[in-house]
Amino acid sequence: MATKTRAASKKKRRGKAAEKEGPEVIRVPETTVEIVSDSGEGAQKCGQIFGAVCAKMGNGAWTVEIIPAEIQPPARSKAGGSGNRIRFGTEEVTNWGDATNLVVAFNEQVLLGRIELGALAEDAIVLLENQWATHPDEDIRKEWEEGLKELSKHDYRIIEVPMEEECLKIVDDTRRGKNMFALGMLAWIYDRDQELIRGQIAHQFRKKGEDIYQRNVELMEAGYAWAQKNLDFRIEVPTVPSDVPKVVMNGNEAVGMGVIAAGMELCSMYPITPATSASHYLGDVFERFGGVVHQAEDEIAAVGVAIGASYSGKVACTITSGPGLSLKQEFLGLAVMLEVPLVVVDVQRGGPSTGLPTKAEQSDLLTACFGQHGDAPHVVMAAATIDECFHSMITARRIAEAFKTVVIVLTDANLATGVQPFVRPQVDARWQQAPIGLAPVPEDKPPYDWDPRTGLAQRRVPGQPGGMYTATGLAHNEWSKVAYDPDSHQRGCQMRSRKMAVLQSTLKPPEIRGDDSGDLLVVGWGSTRGAIEEAVDRARAEGLSVSSCHITFLSPLPPGLKQMFSRFDRVMTVEINYSDEPDDPYVTEENRRRAQLCRLLREATLVDVDCWSRVPGQPLRPGKILKAIKQRLEMGVQV
């Protein structure tokens, strides 16, 4: 990336002279592009197609959505930018990176909005729609001029593009067309495969008829032609066609597909951003697999229906986000108490309360662990990549059934809407196995025939002759009879708790990226993985003694952490949730409210684990993490 930006600015300095020579080709290992428009102008579609094409050509890629803050922001407003940001490179791309190198903007206001958010690299190339210069509305013309003045304060290379004018040659309503023109420009700049692009356009618009498809292709070609004629640079991001088959999708699609792959039969949900799109996906295809998406009247009913299904021997899950998780807590405690397997997906968003519904955050960890009243031992795990969004469904089902408990899988808005190619899963028919048959049960066998050492017991479901019993959320003995005596309750708690120790004993210590001792160990969980590892790699490249490790099981935690931590002078977590900074007013070592994984690790290991965390409503940037790493290292060795 460094290469690229330098090349681009060199280019800029060379100016007009270059035009004669044909386009200069700038070769970079990876780069970041974004396309941003008013909402409704289709920048998102353009970005999706472009990202998919990059992936298909053999680039690593990571696409994130740019979502406006308002339902219907006014046109040409800073807060209203909608679109996509695609980071792609020769190697695998694991996160959204730091800053955008090239942006296509449909008006100067959304562009300024992105600049205010710090989205652009200092030397970014900007392709900017320029119809506003001659707009009939005087206010708009003025805004345009002031906008340009503002832009000139930066070091960007601004290229004005008459997108409106060009598109009007083909269509009457440019609101549904300019995006394809922009796609065409990008196709030329980055030399993307036209056939693939047409294929993706077909994929997006095939439902709307041949006509619409053709118009879109025409617009795309017009953009391509315009760029070819008018631009004096192209950017080459070498592709390495993959030797293993890959798929590309977003995290919620991966969750949905994982639900199917895991052999689930019911996804019981209530709509909530950013989880809903997983059920949109399932709503579309699940019936073909014999599966049902049940949209319940609320989150409580949603989890209740899933528990009813699981109690009766089926494989069920519920998918939600923070506020929904809060509502489900009472029922989750019941499932733990009844030992009914249940998979819960929490696609985390910004909190607390309604918070930032469309934005990424990792602040539901503690509530996932401790949100049920009473002692309700269960499993909490997190997906770190889109790949893991898929596979965690299979793991979660397996654990939920083997340990007859609740498994909460945490993902977040970053994974949910991020798009990344990953190795195509090898689907296994065993994942589809029914959990239990209806064989008769001897009448003298209790429904909770706990193994006293492990707390494990066989499952029992309606339809099994001789097995009749009443599941109850009241304290009960092995016969599922209500039992309030001290021994029964202590024993029940014990049996439920021991399962966690047994599960933990089967987990592997997390792997260390980098040396297994050194000055600093950075620990993360969930969607920050790519950004943390990139930051650590960069730090190591600079000669710093930093390693990282990433935790999949949050409860129970994997073994070996304390020992691992002891080999580093400092340990810190990097998370997207709130923590006080050590030097905040009134904040002391004692009262500092630390990040959520940090708290879990301190309790478990007694190591003085530090944290660096932010709640920007966005994924963290590797560059910012790198800065935090350096700052921590400068603070020197801890006691």
């Binding site: 992936a55 298909k56 993959s242 088959p245 798929v247 590309v248 999708m249 699609e253 597909m257 199917i260 792959a261 039969e265 019911l266 019981s268 073909r288 697999f289 014999g290 599966g291 049902v292 049940h294 319940a296 009247e297 609320d298 409580i300 009913a301 949603a302 989890v303 209740g304 229906v305 899933a306 528990i307 009813g308 299904a309 109690y311 009766s312 021997g313 089926k314 069920a316 009472e330 029922f331 019941l334 195509r424 689907v427 296994d428 028919a429 589809q432 064989a439 008769p440 009448e443 309606p462 339809g463 099994q464 002759p465 001789g466 009749m468 009443t470 599941a471 109850t472 959320g473 209500v482």
Partner: protein, 317 residues
Amino acid sequence: MTHYGCSLLGCGVIDERHFDMDDYQGAIARWCPGCGDHSILTAVQRLLEEEQLKPEETVLVSGIGCSSRFPHYVKTYGFHGLHGRALPVAIGIKLERPELHVFVTMGDGDCCSIGAGHWIHATRYNADMVAMLLDNNMYGLTKGQTSPTTPLRFPSNTQPHGSYLRPLNPLTATLGVTNASFVAQTAEWIPQHLFETLKAAYHHKGFAFIRILQRCPVYTSKIYEDAVRSPDLIEMLIHDDGIHIPDLDQIYKNQVIHDPSNLNEAYRLAQDSDRMRIGIFYRNEGLPRYEEVRRLPARTAEERVKLLNEELDRYAV
């Protein structure tokens, strides 16, 4: 009765078991002496016997309350869940295992207060099950607090100076919901009527909602006293398509002929609170049932794997 016919194991042999009342006997019921729940328990067990429902294919679901202890006392599968949340669980069971017979018992607090949202929506889903509201006009288990059906000015522990609101009418509330398909009222102290109502509900294809007037000698002994003693205070809805028990004609002389297919009339009769009416207010078997509407062709593991690979192809790079 310990030999299981092989049909359950899928080997096609006919299940020759016969079940008698004892086969449905769970733990000993622990309600207060004189509690109306006892007679409801008996009626349900009688129904199970009369219909020869297999204990292992019958599931009783409840919430929390005195009435919700019900499943413990019947030897079938049972689910004694959370206060107010019996219906979602029952729907989950019926949706995924439509071959099971599902009965739900709820208290008036359970169903009409904390569970009101689920009650409305379960009515609308119209999944095939029997939903019994054991209405003692009070919170029993928690020792006497006002419930939505507590009569106006009747004292309780939370409202010792008498309840502040007129009681909610569970019948009109249910009738107000689209897809309501079976709405009836009966009283536990009229066992024949209770039994016939249960039976009609069981045979109804859809969500059969029965409000059962239930005495709680501990907290609301006075409420139904008069009606128990004076059958004249009760009006029976009778009809060829409804419930008519000739044996009771001599006792319950107030009768009104009501065609259960007439929704507006059902609402009118239910709404008018001058009389205590029992019988089937409304029945409509023409409404789609949720588990039917959502029923899908079963897929084998292999089919699913094949389809999933096709699906992955769509996302292939």
